[in-house]
Every structure is written in C-alpha cells, then in structure tokens.
C-alpha cells in the first residue's frame, strides 16, 4: 500500500505537498477508514481551483512512468511545471509498504515527457540512481532486488541510441520500467508487487460529458455489450436502485438486431436520451469500476458526487467502504454533508488550501475533535478557515 506521496513544482503545487497515509490519530470509531494501520478512505475538501484534480493527476503520475502506453504521455492535460517557480523540474516521491518492506521511488521530470532523474530505495538502502541530465548512473545494489543479472549496459546503449537517432529524443525510458520488463523476477518480488499496485491505481473525474457522448461511445464499449446478459442488466438496475435511483431497465432488440436500453415505464423511455446528470454519473462509476469486478489498489474519485443527492453520496461512500476495504480511496468533494463523524474521521478529512497545503481536520484546529462534534458546521462557521 502507499504510505506517503509527495509532489513539488507540479502544476499549481509550487511547494511540496504530501499525502501522509501513516498519519493516524487515535480515534476509536469508523475504523473502516483505515487498512493495515494506514489511512485508506480519505475525503479532500477545498475551494475551487485549489488543485484537487491536479493532486489526483500527480498521484497517478507513476502509472505513466511504469505502466501506461507512451502514446498517452504526449496527450496529457495542461501545463506541467508550476508557472511561478524558477525550478525547471517537478519532483515526485512515492513511499510504499509491501509486507514489511518499505519501497521508495523518486523521480524528477522536466516535462510530461522528459525524465531528469530517478531513484529506488528499499528499506533505506539505495538500489539504483540515474541522473539522465548529468548522464551519471549508479546501479550499486541491484542484488538488493535480485536483479544483479540485469544487463544495464544494454539499457544505457539503448538510451544513447535513442538520443542519437530517435525523433523522440527527449523521451527517456525509466530504468525501473526497463528493469521490470527485462528481467525474470521472482513471484514474490517487491517490484512485481509495485507493478501490480500501480496497475490497479485509477482516477475518475466528475463526468462532464453529456449523455449523448456517452451514448455514442457505447458502441466500442464492452460494458454495453455485457448488458445483453440479463444478470448484468439486473445488477446495474439493483445498483441504481440501492444508491437511490428508483428505476427499472429493459433491453429491447431493434429491427436491425441492435439492442437498445430503456427505462421501463408504461411506455419505454430511451435510456441515454433521457438520463439525468446524477444517474449518468452513477452509471459511469458503475461502468468504470463496479462492473469490472476486479480489485483496485488506489482510486481517486474527483468530485465524484458533483451531481448526486446527498443521500446518494453517502450511499456510494458506504458502498465503497464495504466493497473495497483494502482500496486506498481518495475522494474530493464540495459536499460538506459528508464531513461527518458518522462515516468519516477527522484524520481522514482534509482541506486543500489555496496555497497548496493539505491539512487534516484534526490538525487544522487546536480543539480536540470528538465524535459528537458537528464537523460540517465547524467547517462552515470557519473553525478551519486558516487552513483553507
């Protein structure tokens, strides 16, 4: 699991910002917000444009380093470096805990595309360090991850060759990625644990697209095909009903053989042409996460409840706590109704300030926050205002 994440000089985070999952206070309630002595269900508040979405993008950056297709690296959003900083690189640092081992992976980048350096440490011992800007490489302790057979010369040659010949000269393949893909790792290798974790990281932003976009994209999506099985359609219907959308669904075959989804009333009502924004957001969440049935290591739900009734938002949080107890779930929201000890704890509720500082509610006041406190009212009345 992820213990700590730090980023600096990335988008609106000029200074270092850290999510410390180890920082647990001694609350004896809502322990389902913790997993393996780490915070695992976090809710972040913050005024508009404080960087809640950017924090999610930063957190998921490691996917681009280790997993994602390089093609997507060229298609990422917005300015990469902080616009007020004089530093020309952004710093990312991830500290993981796998069994009893601590793995720290740090890297800096000049841009979305251009890696400056990277470093891997396990239990405080340096495994390797590559400074691509200075062309200085230290593969001092590859035996520490049972990778001493790795032919690092080939990696360096390939790096040099790419610099000389490739039109994507500025792109640098991270050594860690090369290592994972080019050596035979033991089944219990910590690097495989890392890859598995990173592969299962996901981010979902509020669905700003309209229903028609969703409708048109359905053709390529196996999800819509899967609804042709009655049990899958029933499952979607049950999910919507339990989250707070009372409806009945029906699939009907058209004369051309294509199947269309409808709300079942006395007359059938076409689903996508008539779906509400809230229901669409909920279906989107179902399609991307729930219907997949696989485990998720870390899920960043950005303004997930922007279109939800407050009870639906509570239901969704409750569902994720129950269904994904080991998932590190980070939600952002403006819905202060969720700022409650009924579902969360003050050490799992955070405020992201306009200056890019992340502070838990229990650290944002000198008062001792107790289970009976009305956190929402305290937040609105300004108890934590100096951290906003």
């Amino acid at each position: 699991m992820l213990k700590r994440f730090t980023v600096k000089n990335y988008k609106n985070f000029k200074d270092s910002i850290c999510i410390d999952f180890e920082k647990i206070a001694g609350y004896q309630y809502n322990k389902d917000c913790l997993t393996d002595d780490l915070l695992s269900k976090i809710l972040i508040y913050g005024r508009n444009a404080t960087g809640k979405t950017n924090l999610g993008r930063a957190l998921l950056d490691i996917r681009f380093m280790l997993i994602q297709n390089f093609f997507y690296m060229n298609h990422r959003e917005g300015v990469f470096l902080n616009a007020d900083s004089t530093e020309d690189f952004a710093t990312f640092s991830y500290a993981f805990q796998f069994d009893r081992k601590e793995l720290i992976y740090q890297y800096t980048r000049f841009s979305d595309f251009e890696l400056r350096d990277e470093k891997l440490m396990i239990d405080g011992a340096l495994i390797f360090q590559c400074d691509f800007a200075k062309k200085s490489y230290d593969f001092c302790n590859l035996e520490g991850i049972y990778a001493e057979t790795a032919n690092v010369e080939r990696y360096l040659e390939a790096l040099q060759k790419r610099r000389e010949e490739d039109e994507m000269a500025e792109f640098i393949l991270p050594f860690l990625r090369w290592l994972i893909n080019n050596i035979a790792l033991e089944n219990d290798s910590i690097l495989l644990r890392l890859t598995d974790y990173v592969r299962k990281m996901q981010m979902i932003t509020a669905n700003n697209g309209n229903a028609m976009t969703f409708y048109l994209s359905r053709v390529q999506d196996s999800f819509f095909k899967s609804l042709e099985k009655e049990k899958n359609l029933d499952d979607l219907e049950e999910f919507l009903n339990q989250m707070g959308v009372a409806c009945k669904l029906k699939l009907k075959e058209m004369p051309d053989g294509q199947k269309e989804l409808y709300f079942a009333h006395k007359k059938l009502v076409p689903f996508f042409e008539n779906i509400s924004s809230g229901t669409l957001a909920l279906v989107n969440l179902y399609r991307q996460i729930v219907s997949k049935g696989w485990d998720i290591s870390l899920l960043y739900l950005d303004e997930f409840d922007a279109f939800y009734h407050y009870e639906m938002a509570k239901n969704v949080v409750q569902y994720f706590k129950k269904r994904y107890p080991r998932c590190q779930l980070i939600m952002t929201s403006h819905n202060t109704n969720l700022m409650t000890t009924r579902q969360m704890r003050p050490d799992c509720l955070f405020i992201l300030s306009t200056s890019g500082k992340l502070t838990s509610l229990c650290d944002a006041t000198s008062r001792e926050l107790r289970e009976g406190h009305n956190l929402e009212k305290m937040y609105i009345s300004g108890e934590f205002a100096s951290y906003e």
Binding site: D234, D235, M243, E311, N315, Y319, R370, G372, H373, N374
Partner: protein, 126 residues
C-alpha cells in the same frame, strides 16, 4: 450478484427525551390517546433514566467543559444513544424535532446556577 444493500436511514422523526418510565408509560401514553394528531412514535420516546444534571455531565464528557461558551452544536441523540445502546447510534440530523422533558430539581446535589444556565442554552439549541 453484488450486495448493494444500504443501511436504511430513518428521517422525519420526532424525538421525545424524558426522565423516566412514568413519563413514557403514563403521561405520554395518555397525551397521545387524547391528541392522536401528535406525530410521535412511541418508540421515539427515549427514557433517559436519570435527571437533567447527569445529562449535563454526559454532555460535558463528550464536548468538554467549555461546550456552552464554545457554541458547539450538541447532538443529544448521539450523546444519549452512545450511552444507552452504542451499537445503534442515532444522530440529530435524523430528527425534525427533539423535545426534552425533565424536572428542574433545584434540590439535586449537582445543581448550580452555572449548569442551570448552560442547560437553558442547550434547550435553546435543541
């Protein structure tokens, strides 16, 4: 199939917190018979089982000594339900009205002008 079942939340209830069995079994039983239009379920009459000064102490335990001055939003259903049946906590937000019926009991050893004043503040907020 997944289990999407959610804990059902009861809303739009009225809560009556009384001192003892007598108030529930006799007094309010009779009042409800006489005025059936009063919309309070008999299960939502909670017997606190002791007097207002001990309730005062329970509030102090949860919110600290300065609860009255600090303007804390006191959640009485939470304070009482945690003490009486901690496995099923109830919260202020589930009730539209909370009515407290207690004797003044000036003779009680826990009475003081200070806590009497705070108790009035509490009644004003509930």
């Amino acid at each position: 199939m997944n289990n999407y079942q959610q804990e059902e939340r009861q809303r739009r209830q009225n809560l009556l917190i009384v001192e003892g069995n007598h108030e529930k079994d006799r007094l309010f039983w009779l009042i409800f018979r006489c005025f059936p239009e009063i919309d309070i379920n008999v299960d939502d009459i909670w017997i606190y089982g002791t007097n207002i000064y001990l309730l005062y102490e329970d509030i102090q335990k949860e919110y600290g000594d300065t609860w009255a001055e600090s303007g804390d939003d006191i959640d009485l259903p939470f304070v009482i339900s945690r003490k009486q049946h901690s496995a099923y906590l109830r919260y202020k937000e589930d009730f539209t009205n909370i009515i407290l019926i207690f004797d003044y009991e000036r003779h009680d050893g826990n009475f003081s002008e200070e806590n009497s004043k705070d108790a009035k503040i509490l009644c004003g907020r509930s």
